[in-house]
Amino acid sequence: MGLPFTSSRLVEAAAYALIALGLNIQWGYGGLFNFGIMGFLMVGGAAVTFISYPVNPEFWGSDGPMMLGRALLAFAGGALIVLAARQSHRIGITGKWKGALTVLAWFCAYILYRSQLDPAAAYIESVGGGWVGGLGAHPVLGWVFGGVLAAGIAYIVGKICLGLRTDYLAIATIGISEIIRALIKNMDWLTRGTLTVSPIPWPTPLPQDYQAGGMDIAGSLIAARAGYLVLALVVLGLVMWLISRAYAGPWGRMMRSIRDNHIAASSMGKNVTARQLEIFVFGSVLMGIGGAMLVSFVQIFDPSSYQPINHTFLIWVMVIVGGAGNNWGALFGAVLLWLIWVVSEPLSKAVFDFVSYWSTNAGWGAIPEIEARSAQMRVFVLGLVITIALRFAPKGLIPEVVRREG
């Protein structure tokens, strides 16, 4: 434990709070079932490595950029083929023939793109320092880019999926986040894949900088993390202020009316599909920024560390337990659940140690592998918390305040 440990957990809690607010916009305001949070977090993390990691001169000096440019051209060409096939009804190709032509066009576009990208990827991985490297910009710009990139992807995902209802939407978004994970994990030329990127620069002074100024190690850790925490809290406060204002205003009222009865809302002239896409993108921006903050805090981007349990379900539990539809609820839930998630491991270790001591004395022998087992207990505790919460506080600990507007 100790202060350095607590301070870094606080920073992570702030980032998770941002992500939980993003989900609260999507689910609490808009009733959208996004189970692809992990994908947006990964996108944000990859974005921050791309922006803030130092420039890789080996790559820019090689043929890599040109080959990537050709792959980009091939991608554009493929997109043109697909678009052309979709317009084929203009020259009299309709019905099944058009469908077949569209499928064929997708296939050709895919082959065209792969034929250019595969050699480029192999080349970059072999010579250009292994991957494209970053741009060397300030990490906060990376956070912004994480939000922008997540927004772009959310727009595409929303366009594809938002026609679906509840359970179908959940499963489709999980599927898409798994696709994103597979891509980021295996596109070594772009994200370095499982080789991981580190160290990613910090937006605020690092402990080493304080130590150079003559501070002791513990003090420098705390000072550095306090700086980061202040920055994270500023972002969080700004977001909280903005979304609370949006919630209280006409926009929030419209969103809640769409959530509660989208048929009635659309008969009142609200464009339900466009509004839902809007809210999906807004929420995903917060997830992208939160994911970027987490990555730049730990200074390492490791695609293998992303798991649906830690990065999708945990956040859902935060919002459900805290109170969906209430920003303070989501914020409270995020901090509370992050606390539970963090302490459940040492706590279960203590319980195991106690039981082990007792069972050894009773002659039944000690519990083997206590360390590994208590690490697994976190998942169990998470499941327990969510089932208990749904049973006894289905609206959350700080439920949504339902106001009747006259």
């Binding site: 179908y168 489709a172 599927g175 798994e178 349990i309 539990v317 998942v379 499941g383 918390v385 969510i386």
Partner: protein, 334 residues
């Protein structure tokens, strides 16, 4: 001929095996969705849990010195299925029934099922650690190598004993399920309730019983699928959690609520995955002798790299949802 035998080994057999496992899992998901109207995420943990029950029973058999001609995993399967069905009933009673009674939305039940998933996974890891286990520690996995030199192949046709049994067992259970759903009173009641729950209730169908039967069938089939997957590969705590999404994809592609759709979807996804990562050069290699120099086949000619195997299922899922939002067989929705 060697190439064709290679194709059969690599695609037909492994696609069929994978498809059978997906289909068995998807039937349970689709039945639960049809009757109870929610996507049951914890199905993966029913599969893993069932596999661990079977593993414990098999270990017990080995400890008692019982030796069987077929792999012990298959011998203990019926007992494990009964236990898994009881487990499924207990989960419903403990976690879903109180929520249903309160009239919770399907979405709440879905989230509750994620909570159950996490709890069971935590418990399995608590007792068994994170390592992997094999059913074949005490006995050898028999591998049949059928000599095909008679038809001019230099490679044998390779299939393992569990794979043969797995395909047979799946076939038998699917036929049994078919007769249950179409001939028995209870099966007809299930189909009626899947069609229209309110109508089924007013026409005097015992809906509580139907719900229980659904859990029993789903739990038993999940146990079967999990055990067979563990017999084919190895048993580990995230055995089924890794494939729950392809299984959902299979259920949705077939149409949620449609038992036959689940079978079709399972086989479709299983074959699509193996076909997508298959290296087609292995099949068309003889053509290299005929083709001109500039048209020689590259050494690797797969549709997607092997790392993206699981992605195939999601792409099929997303495309299906776009083109036919309720699946091939027109499934139900919440």
């Amino acid at each position: 001929m060697t190439e064709i035998i290679f194709f059969i080994n690599q695609v037909v057999i492994s696609g069929l095996v994978l498809g059978c496992i997906y289909a068995l899992g998807a039937i349970g998901i689709t039945l639960i969705f049809g009757i109870l109207r929610f996507a049951h995420f914890a199905h993966s943990e029913l599969m893993t849990g069932g596999a661990f029950i079977a593993f414990l029973l098999a270990s017990a058999f080995a400890a008692w010195g019982i030796v069987t001609p077929i792999p012990t995993g298959f011998v203990v399967l019926p007992i494990a299925m009964v236990l898994a069905a009881v487990l499924a009933l207990g989960i419903d009673k403990g976690f879903y029934a109180p929520l249903r009674k309160r009239g919770a939305k399907p979405v709440t039940l879905l989230i509750a099922s994620i909570g159950v998933t996490l709890m069971i996974q935590g418990l399995i890891r608590l007792f068994f650690g994170a390592g992997s286990y094999s059913f074949f520690e005490n006995e050898a996995k028999e591998i049949f190598r059928i000599d095909t030199s008679a038809i001019g192949s230099t490679r044998p046709l390779v299939i393992t004993e569990p794979q043969v049994l797995m395909i047979l067992v799946t076939l038998v259970s699917v036929i049994a399920l078919h007769f249950f759903l179409t001939r028995s009173r209870l099966g007809k009641a299930m189909r009626a309730m899947a069609d229209n729950a309110d109508l089924a209730q007013v026409s005097g169908i015992n809906t509580a019983l139907v719900v229980r039967v659904t859990w029993v069938i789903a739990g038993a089939l999940a146990c079967m699928a999990g055990t067979m997957l563990a017999l084919d590969v190895t048993l580990k705590p995230d055995l089924a959690f890794n494939i729950i999404l392809p299984i959902f994809a299979a259920a949705i592609v077939g149409g949620l609520g449609q038992a036959y759709g689940a079978i079709a979807g399972g086989l479709l996804i299983g074959f699509a995955e193996t076909l997508a990562v298959f290296n087609w050069t292995m099949l068309f290699r003889p053509l290299n002798a005929v083709l001109p120099d500039w048209l020689q086949l590259p050494p690797q000619l797969a549709l997607v790299p092997t790392e993206y195997k699981l992605t195939v299922a999601f792409v099929i899922l997303v495309v299906t949802l776009l083109v036919r939002p309720t699946g091939i067989f027109k499934g139900a929705s919440t």
